[in-house]
């Protein structure tokens, strides 16, 4: 066999003789026991084989096109062979495409190029029968969705996300600007969860478009100025800060910035509370941020409602956090509870499920074991902020006072006890001339017993000195009056 020394000549003879090489023909011929195939025959056959293969592929491509596919499958080839009056190649299925592997190069015939073969996987019946669970495919099914509603493509999961061309180009144009205020702004609005109010998807989409559109340069500048004036509190002087807050409280036209401000506040609170918060500075930051929330709520031109779900976590975090800096703790919690109460009075009518949900959070913080005292104090203040009913529910009926009382040392005069007493004062005003409960009086004795039962020893003792108050706290306004 003179194959190796024939090859170089052949290669020089046919520089670009198509995909199918004469060598392959010779290999096939050898496999059929035809040795010494002449060069001419081999190359002519190679050309012809290539032409025939192209013929089959062109025919198969028609079947592919009519099957509305863009990949040629073995089924197409079979169909093509059939119409060309050639017996199809059996044993190939489009859903189980054969995997070709390249054979390691043979040491003697390195020039022959790569040889590919089909991997014949061995199947171990025992393993298959033991392990594999045959699952029947579900079968074809359909889903329907709106691809377009009067020419507008709804942003629903079934449709691909809109191509953010506007923002891309905007960012591509602007990076040269010196201040680059826009870099603060994410391309998509931060609202990741649609609030229940704007349940309709179309509305949501409109809002998203709104945010995209109105980030004018002026607003971007305003945003950077505002945030730098507010924080960090040590660097900025007081007048600037008050001016900024006043602007937030009164200026119109900030609606577009609202999502960004809300997010800024949220991130600020998280950042301040995350790292331990013992420093004075963090306390100041939190105070400022609470002021910002308050200012946003105060601003009559802002439509805060869609962002309540984002505003509440910072407020509640500050209110209930276990370790606020000592110097600011009381102030922070009081402010937070004030803001909470204002928020509730403002929105509980349009958003009836809001107070119960906040109540639940506060009650959990108040009663559930393992919470720190400062958390409980915050919860009490929060309850005071919500109102009389909440205080009664939490402290008296829910047993909050009892829990706190058991945790306090008898006779201790801490903030938490004071806050509970404050809460009691909300329930019923302290009488100006207290008449202590009389142990000997049977009715009074009953009250004292109930006091101890409901509020715990500590607070029972404190309330005993004022019978009207004690009655008021225990039974309610109607009974007390």
């Amino acid at each position: 066999m003179n194959k190796p020394n024939m090859k170089p000549r052949l290669h020089s003879h046919q520089p670009t003789a198509g995909v199918f090489k004469a060598d392959s023909i010779r290999d096939v011929a050898e496999s059929l026991n035809i040795v010494n195939l002449p060069d001419v025959v081999a190359s002519a056959l190679a050309s012809d084989v290539e032409y025939r293969i192209h013929q089959v592929i062109e025919e198969a491509a028609r079947f592919m096109r009519h099957a509305k596919r863009t990949t040629l499958t073995t089924a197409d080839i079979d169909q093509a062979l059939r119409v060309l009056n050639i017996e199809p190649l059996y044993g190939h299925f489009p859903h189980n495409p054969p995997v070709f592997r390249r054979a390691p190069p043979h040491p003697q015939t390195t020039a022959a190029g790569s040889v590919y073969f089909i991997e014949d996987e061995e199947i171990d019946f025992e393993r298959v029968l033991r392990e594999e669970k045959l699952t029947l495919p579900k079968g074809p099914r359909w889903t329907a969705h709106w691809l377009a509603v009067e020419g507008v493509q709804p942003l629903i999961p079934e449709n691909p996300p809109a191509i953010p061309k506007d923002i891309d180009t905007e960012q591509a144009v602007k990076p040269g600007s010196p201040s680059r205020p826009h870099s603060v702004f994410p391309p998509t609005p931060p609202s990741d969860r649609p609030s229940p109010i704007q349940a309709a998807k179309k509305q949501q989409q409109q809002q998203q478009q709104l945010v995209k559109q109105v980030l004018s340069r002026e607003l971007q500048l305003y945003y950077t100025r505002l945030t730098s004036a507010l924080l960090p509190p040590s660097a900025s002087d007081l007048t600037k800060r008050t001016a900024a807050l006043a602007s937030l409280r009164n200026d119109a036209g900030l609606q577009a910035l609202l999502p960004y401000l809300v997010r800024w506040v949220g991130e600020g609170v998280v950042g301040a509370l995350k790292n331990g918060v013992q420093s004075d500075n963090d306390g100041q930051v939190l105070e400022v941020l609470l002021d910002v929330i308050g200012a946003l709520l105060d601003n009559p031109t802002l439509f805060v409602e869609p962002y309540l779900h984002q505003l509440l976590p910072p407020i509640l975090s500050i209110l209930l956090h276990s370790s606020l800096p000592d110097s600011h703790a009381v102030n922070l919690r009081t402010t937070a509870s004030h803001i909470l109460s204002r928020l509730l009075t403002q929105y509980s009518t349009t958003y009836p499920s809001l107070p119960p949900r906040i109540m639940k959070t506060l009650l959990l913080a108040l009663i559930s074991p393992g919470k720190s005292r400062s958390t409980r104090e915050g919860a009490v203040r929060g309850l005071v902020g919500i109102g009389k009913e909440a205080v009664r529910k939490g402290l008296v009926e829910g047993g909050g006072a009892k829990v706190i009382g058991s945790e306090c040392m008898p006779g201790e005069d801490s903030g938490i006890a004071e806050s509970v007493m404050d809460a009691f004062r909300v329930l019923h005003p302290q009488s100006s001339s207290p008449v202590p409960l009389d142990q000997s009086n049977q009715a009074d004795a009953e009250i004292i017993r109930q006091l101890g039962e409901v509020l715990g020893e500590l607070f029972a003792d404190r309330l005993m000195s004022d019978s009207a108050w004690a009655r008021g706290v225990l039974i309610g306004d109607a009974a007390g009056l």
Partner: protein
């Protein structure tokens, strides 16, 4: 054979004053070519060639080339007579042409006897060598083509678009020549060198040619034979043509300065000769008097190519080379709405009036007027008379009345997708009013196996049918109702449980033995009731009729020899048409198992078939790049639409019957005016195959869906400028008439269709990303 009377050019030269100078310029090679042409009887070519080689001489005398040509004809008249005699003696072989094996050619020439010019030829062959005479040296073709390309690229900007199309046919012929004479390597070299510059529009044809590697392939390949036997038509302006002829003959004219002196040297001469032979034998120049600049950008598509076989020849004697002249020769078409029988019309109007009374619907009382208005012939089109229609049953059924009533109601209630009429708000002043955009409901198929070649919705949108590659059809009820067929084993006593028990909202129809390529619901019930029949076409060469009452196959229509690609009901039921790989479209009626008409003429697969809304005509789109319109009853072709640069894959008639839209593998949608047969515009924008087209009910909007996972809306009436990169609402519009593009999530859109109330339905199958 008439005796040779020493009438070679040398012999006659004393008789003609211009001849000596001409003789001096004619090189031996040219002379032999001339004689060869003469002996083969190519009079036109000979004349042209002679005129060409004698041009310098005539220029000396200040005559124009035409005059010289005239004089030269007088010179060669004797030879013409003689050569005709030569021609007549030989057995005529139609289809065979000048390019033949050199040896046989020589032998033939020698056998022709002792005519002097033949002697001359033989002697010159001896001198120069047979191979070179017949331009068999492969390199001169390469050289010649390079020269031509350089000349075209160097020509003036105004002529370049005109000259570019010449490159392609000359390339093809050179390549085929090289292959035919066995110069495989030279052919491959030639291909690799020049094919990239020929432009993407020819890539499919070029690829096909590149697969031909042996002479036997050229003999057997259909496309190669078409190139060989047909003339490739090229449209050119008068001045451009003159420049080309001048350059081919003399090597001067039209090229930019500094481009060299055209053909030079021996090789260049042979290259030129080869080119001249191609030009003479295989090209036809459609010379137009119009100036080059007035021709629009895409006009060449309609007038360039192997047209003579694409255009049906009327009587055999008069060959039409221009699709426009063919279309004009076929006279006017009746494109108006089909007439509705008087009784049916009266009954429908009566029912409408009744319903208007019952419903107390304020809009309904105008239905009868609307109805008569819809049936009235529109201005500008001829309405057919009842006798023009294919025969329909004389009586009408209840369902016909219901359908008509529903049709009017749909027309009243449908979503308006047309420009608001300008009468009311003409004073507003904003001139181009925007079309309202449609609402599109997409039905996505999941978890299909090998693929869904087709999918369709019934007109009342109660049913969806999809044909699968796994040979079955699946029906779905879109209203969530259970699909129950009639029982075959019911008791005659209890006629109540005639329907099957149980059932599901989907149903599988099994009967085909190959992939199902098309399904169609019958249109008889319109939108008034669910359809009763379904047709399906498959790769097993049958078309099947399925009853949706019994959910079973009721008939199989055999006749096609090859896979049936498409099936379509006639607009009033009863008849249907199929398109097949066997290059025919056929007309059938449901009650006969054999075809009523065979529409033959396409040169390749018929991919798509559509009925004209008045059922008088049938349009077919084919893989031979053309679309034809057939007279349903006569079976003759009445229009041919040439312009696509690829396979025509799908078609759509506008409901008003005036326009035809066709989509091709060249990724363009062409809009045709049926009456004149002319292209109105070409709409480009899709980036992959277009699978489906649909017109809105007012014919004002076209929707297309394709393999690029998009649905696109096109404005039919807008002129549709070329690429105008205007930014509107953030999306870059590539064309002014592409109104909107709606991308889907990995879903090739296989069917788009409008409901009678103008809601657009789109169907596609979701390709999961892990699927390759």
């Amino acid at each position: 054979m008439s005796t040779a009377s020493a009438s070679t050019p040398e012999g006659t030269s004393p008789a003609n004053p211009s001849a000596p100078s001409a003789e001096s310029t004619i090189s031996p090679t040219d002379r032999t070519i001339l004689e060869y042409l003469r002996s083969k009887g190519y009079k036109g070519a000979e004349k042209e060639f002679l005129a060409a080689v004698e041009k310098p001489a005539s220029d000396d005398k200040g005559k124009n080339p035409e005059a010289t040509a005239a004089t030269s004809t007088t010179v060669s008249s004797e030879e013409l007579v003689k050569s005709e005699a030569v021609q007549s003696q030989r057995p005529s072989r139609p289809g065979e042409n000048a390019l033949r094996e050199p040896a046989t050619a020589l032998q033939e020439l020698a056998s022709l006897g002792n005519s002097t010019n033949v002697q001359n030829l033989i002697s010159s062959i001896d001198a120069v060598g047979a191979e070179e005479i017949l331009s068999l040296d492969p390199t001169d073709k390469q050289e010649g083509f390079r020269e031509l390309e350089a000349w075209v690229d160097g020509s003036l900007d105004m002529y370049r678009p005109e000259f570019r199309p010449i490159l392609f046919p000359i390339f093809c012929h050179f390549y085929l020549d090289l292959i035919q004479y066995g110069f495989k390597e030279a052919a491959i070299r030639f291909y690799t060198e020049f094919s990239p510059s020929l432009g993407p529009s020819h890539s499919a044809t070029l690829h096909h040619l590149s697969t031909l590697l042996l002479p036997a392939h050229v003999q057997n390949d259909e496309l190669a034979q078409r190139f060989r036997n047909e003339k490739y038509t090229i449209r050119m302006s008068r001045s451009g043509f003159d420049l080309l002829v001048g350059w081919l003959t003399e090597g001067v004219g039209g090229e930019a300065t500094g481009q060299g002196e055209g053909f030079s040297g021996e090789k260049g001469k042979r290259g030129r000769a080869a080119m001249l032979r191609v030009v003479n034998n295989h090209l036809r120049f459609d010379v137009t008097p119009s100036s080059t600049t007035s021709v629009s950008l895409n006009a060449w598509e309609e007038s360039t190519g192997l047209l003579s076989s694409a255009i049906p020849q009327a009587n055999g004697n008069a060959t039409l080379t221009n699709p426009n002249s063919f279309n004009a020769s076929k006279g006017e078409l009746k494109l108006g709405p089909a007439p509705v029988p008087e009784e049916l019309r009266a009954e429908a109007e009566r029912v409408m009036r009744e319903q208007a009374m019952m419903d107390r619907d304020p809009g309904a009382q105008y239905d009868p007027q609307l109805y008569s208005k819809a049936l009235a012939p529109q201005p500008g089109v001829v309405a057919p008379s009842p006798s023009d229609l294919p025969p329909y049953p004389p009586s009408f059924k209840t369902i016909d009345v219901k359908r008509e009533v529903e049709r009017v109601r749909d027309a009243r209630k449908r979503i308006r997708l047309e420009r608001p009429s300008t009468h009311g708000a003409a004073s507003q002043g904003h001139a181009p009013r925007n079309l309202p955009l449609p609402s599109i409901c997409a039905y996505t198929l999941h978890d299909v196996g090998e693929g869904v070649p087709c999918c369709t919705f019934s007109m009342d949108t109660s049913l969806m049918a999809a044909g699968f590659s796994e040979s079955y059809i699946r029906l779905w009820s879109l209203k969530g109702e259970k699909l129950k067929g009639y029982r075959s084993d019911f008791q005659s006593s209890s006629i109540k449980d005639v329907r099957e028990k149980g059932g599901d909202t989907t149903r599988k129809l099994i009967g085909h033995s190959g992939p199902v390529y098309s399904v169609a619901f019958d249109p008889v019930s319109g939108s008034a009731a669910p359809p009763r029949y379904l047709l399906s076409a498959s790769a097993d060469a049958t078309t099947r009729l399925w009853s949706l009452d019994t959910m079973s196959n009721v008939a199989a229509y055999r006749g096609h020899q090859n896979p049936v690609w498409d099936v379509q009901w006639g607009p009033m039921g009863i008849y249907f048409a199929t398109a097949s790989r066997d290059r025919t479209a056929r007309l059938w009626s449901t009650d006969r198992t054999s075809a009523l008409r065979v529409y033959a003429g396409h040169l390749s697969d018929v991919n798509s078939v559509r009925f004209h809304p008045n059922s008088l005509y049938l349009a077919t789109g084919s893989s031979d790049w053309t679309t034809r319109l057939w007279d349903v009853q006569k079976g003759s072709c009445v229009r041919v639409f040439i312009g696509h640069q690829g396979i025509v894959s799908t078609l759509a008639f506008s409901p008003d019957g005036r326009y035809l839209a066709s989509a091709g593998e060249d990724l363009a949608i062409n809009l045709w005016d049926i009456g004149s047969g002319r292209r109105i515009k070409k709409m480009t924008g899709h980036t992959a195959s277009i699978y489906s087209l649909a017109f809105s009910a007012e014919s004002s909007m076209l929707i297309s869906g394709g393999a690029d996972w998009t649905v696109r809306c096109w404005d039919v009436e807008s002129a549709g400028g070329p690429l105008t990169k205007t930014r509107e609402n953030g999306c870059v519009l590539s064309r002014t008439d592409l109104m909107a593009t709606f991308p889907t999530k990995r879903t090739p859109v296989i069917n788009v269709q409008f409901t009678p109330r103008n809601l657009c339905l789109a169907a596609g199958l979701y390709l999961s990303p892990e699927q390759r």
